[in-house]
Subunit: 413 residues, 4 copies
């Protein structure tokens, strides 16, 4: 189980599992909570706060100091949406929670750091640039309970190697199935390109897919924005247009895949026009009324919720990207799985699970478990050594993971 390269040893265990990869099985369920869903807003704020703290620490000291801001609670407000433009009655409440290094040094080298202001600023900036229909001056109350701590100047990042802060694990898989890609692609389309053409669509978009054999049902819920939609007729038209465009986009994804998949899409199925029920909001975000949110309850760090795949309960967003296993191992598991999947192609499904030991170097997990699920186990023998060396390589280059995270090049939700 030990892989040794250039004299370095790591506990890597590559295992072949004789089974069909998920995309060829009968049933699959995949979900994505869009960027405006309160759980995703929480994830994003936690991550923005951590990234801003990282930048501050690196600017002041050249390396990241201890912090962990992986909790954010959103308590819904109260709104009175109305065709043509209603109003927020009670702002939603956002509480940033965590801890950070606020003091370092002794006596005359003693130095204080503005962690809470940095956190609040980062959160406010994110909300402002991401949610055009939310007035952050008045429609949200932003508070922080970020515990303060002190640290010595050496920080958590030492030449001697960074040590795991906890006994924890990370989980990843690859490649994305067509169901995965449809879910991800649909949300990204609605919150991306479509926004230029349809202003009335809010950011709170939830996509759920259920595949049975070759038939995929995509259920899309999209908060519509009252001030952009003048009346019921306009609402009905907007939902129809959204439906048509999102379906067209999904069909393109299917076409590009070359797979033979039947698509069915439902949009805003909770609506009931006869009874006057519309998914109408003032801000395009359901946290304005009735929907609370918190970190780590939505998408895993590959952007999806996949009950037919292995998942970690650890919140990836908001943890520091140096010592926090719950973050690094989750991100790295996906990176490893993706790289291995590139070798194996679509005939295999890759599961990666990394388990840490508290106090041991992050680069030396107690157990790096790679599963290659394929009906053709003969192939596994060929893939094994490639898989081992990919895994070894990522473990030996933890810094690259940290850099990818801090620079925002990998998603965390």
């Amino acid at each position: 189980m030990t892989v040794e390269i250039d004299g370095k040893k790591k506990n890597i265990c590559v295992e072949g599992i004789r089974d069909r990869p998920l995309p060829t099985k009968k049933v699959e369920i995949v979900e994505r909570k869009g960027i405006g869903h309160p759980d995703s807003v929480s994830d994003a704020l936690a991550e923005e706060v951590s990234k801003a703290l990282c930048r501050m620490y690196m600017k002041e000291f050249g390396h990241v100091l201890h912090h962990n801001t992986d909790e954010t609670q959103i308590a819904a407000g109260q709104a009175a949406p109305r065709f043509g433009g209603g109003c927020i009655i009670d702002p939603s409440y956002i509480l940033l929670v965590g801890r950070a290094t606020t003091h370092i040094g002794e006596e005359k080298d003693y130095m204080s750091l503005p962690c809470k202001p940095v956190a609040l600023k980062a959160a406010r900036d994110y909300l402002r640039r991401t949610f055009p229909f939310l007035d952050i001056e008045s429609e949200v109350v932003l508070d922080a309970r970020i515990g303060q701590g002190s640290d010595d100047l050496t920080g958590v990042y030492k030449a001697s190697g960074v040590h795991a802060n906890d006994t924890s694990f990370g989980v990843g898989y690859a490649p994305y199935s067509i169901t995965d890609r449809l879910v991800l692609g649909t949300e990204e389309y609605i919150n991306g390109k479509l926004k230029n053409e349809m202003k009335g669509t809010g950011q709170d978009v939830k996509v759920m897919a259920s595949r049975i054999d070759e038939e995929i049902t995509l259920t899309v819920a999209c908060a519509m924005v009252d001030k952009e939609i003048g009346d019921k007729g306009a609402y009905v038209s907007a939902v129809e247009e959204l439906h048509a465009r999102a379906e067209e986009n999904a069909l393109k994804i299917i076409d590009a895949s070359g797979l033979d998949v039947k698509l069915r899409m439902d949009v805003n199925t909770g609506d009931d026009y006869d009874r006057g029920v519309y998914y109408l909001t003032c801000t395009g975000m359901s946290q304005e009324m009735g929907d609370d949110g918190s970190v780590g309850r939505g998408n895993r760090c590959n952007g999806l919720i996949t009950p037919y795949r292995p998942m970690s309960m650890e919140a990836t967003s908001g943890k520091n990207p140096i010592t926090h296993i719950g973050k690094i191992y989750n991100v790295m598991s996906n990176l490893i799985a993706n790289d291995i999947a590139k070798s194996t192609g679509p005939d295999a499904e890759i599961h990666v699970r990394l388990l840490s030991q508290i106090g041991k170097p992050v680069s030396e997990p107690l157990n790096a478990s790679v599963q290659i699920i394929s009906e053709d186990q003969a192939q596994v023998a060929k893939w094994r050594s490639e898989a081992e060396s990919i895994t070894f390589d990522w473990l030996d280059n933890i810094d690259k993971v940290t850099e990818l995270i801090v620079s925002g090049k990998v998603r965390t939700f």
Copy 2:
């Protein structure tokens, strides 16, 4: 005790008191908490919130609806000021408290109103335009607990007359003594004209005057701003310049009065340069560290705290200017006293106290008590009828008081 004019009767009692006016007595103490003092910040926010609600109600309905936002609590933050520029570690926390009409009408006329957003916006706007060294994005947490209520469309303002919401009273006096004018004029100078010339002076300015006979001691405490002051030497110079300029301004006030008064001024007497104690702040506001604040604990509505004068305990700031006796009667008492004082000149001191009865029209106090304090009681007979008619007139024109308040033409703290 009843004054009748054009068939209208009001309980007005004008009383002569044979005594010397305060300015000729031996001792006088006067204090003003400047606009950056946490109690004044609280007063201002409460009043800004009320004014913004008034404007919203008037825009939507043509008249003001019930509200009372006369409480704001500021809990100090934590700061690490440093010559040249330190940082805020923990933002101060501001909680707006009160109640407002958030819903009116029934069924299809039912309408929701954005009271909390309006309140938060007003508070944020005030902080932004008043305190240039406070980053309201990150150095303050602004929260609101404004209870919601409903109202019928008629509002509180009816042709039949507005009724007192409480058994309460208002108190005022006039004219200002030279001590009063020095205290007021010194704070206004430091937070006004001087700002163009001395950026290093913050808004938290406290002026205390003690007069014994003709000698007035002015004690000034002014928070200095770290980012504008590079080192200890610059601090010492800045305080000296502040002292010189404020003294010059005070002497001008004395000269203009034609009175024979000796002035002594002390500035930042809490400093102790040898022990390294400076009144240095990041934001020019002591609420950044160690100084909490709340509404109604500072200046009365003439801008001063005057323990040798009659005072009301009722907070003037934040109450609605239609039915709230604690606001209208305080403001009106001062207006009446000032008008009477214009007639009597400096030889008399005027005290006005208005007592309401809950449920009775605001224009008909249980008791409007006017005291004319003068050694020359022969004069009082002459002044009496003028005093009565001035008082009657203001009571008969409550609307004018409301307008002066809503338009910001009278101060409330």
Copy 3:
């Protein structure tokens, strides 16, 4: 102006004012907010917190350490009172605000102190033992923002003398007028003896007196408790009984005074039985719905609000009783005034105002001003030296004031 005794000098200024004492003047207004009024609840909690901290510090170190907990904000909840027993929908929110010494010593002598837990415990205990109809488990949310600081072991209490923490003043007067005594006596009766006989009366009692010549109108507002009052009839009877008993009690006070005073009493005048308006509550406290509260906005430290008397704006409750001028000088002014009034008898009115200088010993005010208001100024010459020595004596025994406060032997609201 300097009084010297046994070689010690103090700035004491006793001044005769030729005027009638207030009780013989035409008009007088006096108010008391009872112990259940939200402003009084705030005062009490602030003071309880301070006393509990004093006890903790004295137990651990033998003397009091720095603290100042003179702010508490109560934001009203929401209630649905109903004859026979309604319910609280939204608890009132109580925020304790201030700062305290949480850390002392260095290195191995470093010691942490449980200030916030002590504060929360003290507040909870007070609410529990004072308000029998409030379920503190569920009908109130108690929070604290008490800033933490460190101190050296010597504390604020040194043999060399305690120094004023601020440029501030205290104000007191004596003796109580019959109006004062009626107001105080009525609230104390309703919240005292009467409780055994009339369970339906809550603690939120407000008494307002207006005297014109010899006629005193007492307006009493008393929150009634729904679970003790079965229906409208019972309510009407209860208010009538309250009226009768309170009036009887007031007449006894008048009789005992030997003064010729006419009394009129109104109880719960805001009620309107025809329109179904009753002053009915679930908890006997108006903070359950619609009435916010904070420290220092209600009674002065003699238990009254007296716009015809000199008053201090400084909140007495919650400040530390060692260095905080706003507390010690307010309490001491009243003690001095009372002692002098015992000498002069009812023919004189005594006003005392003590002004501190920041950094100077508390025992040496910048100015201790005593005014003896009497028409018989010949007497003043006789009283003067007694007044000076009483004042000197209290200033020379600050410790006695502190002891009286910590042991709860003087009121602060």
Copy 4:
């Protein structure tokens, strides 16, 4: 895919998967956060609040009204633990979040409900009876942001069938592996029987298991309680005793299973006696310092975190047990899986996933997917119809699930 029984049709899909059940695979990771872990405290409070609301609604109306209280945020406090007994400096902060029906009926049938008080009471009661070392009077601040809503009297529970509130899913598996049972049994032992014998062990216990082939490593972290442990020696002894007893208990579980498993156990591996690092707390809960918590980030509703098994991201705790798919389908998936596993025995692993459609009856999922994982697929044919009828039966008896939840007979975390 449709199963029809007695004329009722349900979409049930039983699928055989030719694979080894997990216990026979090479690697397995299982974790449990004990009842004192902040994520579990959050889960428990959310669930206690929901159960208390259910009881209140059932008492008042005979059925449960709409509510969803599945969010709770714990922000860590600050503590200074010390052998023999330290102190809490800053209480932890617990915010209950969600919404509930606070008003029903119209006009004279209008009725208010004390949801927040009921929630606060339930939370306080749970903390008091579960955590003997936490003084809930002073060492925790409990707040609630529970949005209020109105409902008609019929509630959510109608004869015509309850409808899904969301497009969501539930996931379960069975049977427990030996690794599962060791993790669950170890935490339950330490927080159960052991407490009578070892008072120094706190409730914050975390158990992580890693199985590789037949070797299971159990890593136990248990917060120790300072006031029960006099010094370092006592701490070392206590951890040794804990280790010995927990190991003995684990070996009994293994013995009872008849399986050939090698056990290794590590306890409090984060300690470093040389550097003076101990897992010492004042309250036995790490939320006192440094560890935040929230709902749905810890154990799934079978009490475990199992990255090698299918899991749902939906928080089970705190949701209403009538309409909330995230709760009912998670609990029911486990019930179904367990019942099927009783038929199949240990040679098969059962995965159940239930997917709802918003607005459709809860009893009619869009898709009830049952997977029978076994190398002996011949058997699957035999098990299939039993699996279908078990699944059908549970779906047809949703009420039983609700009853099990409300009566606390199934766990949610």
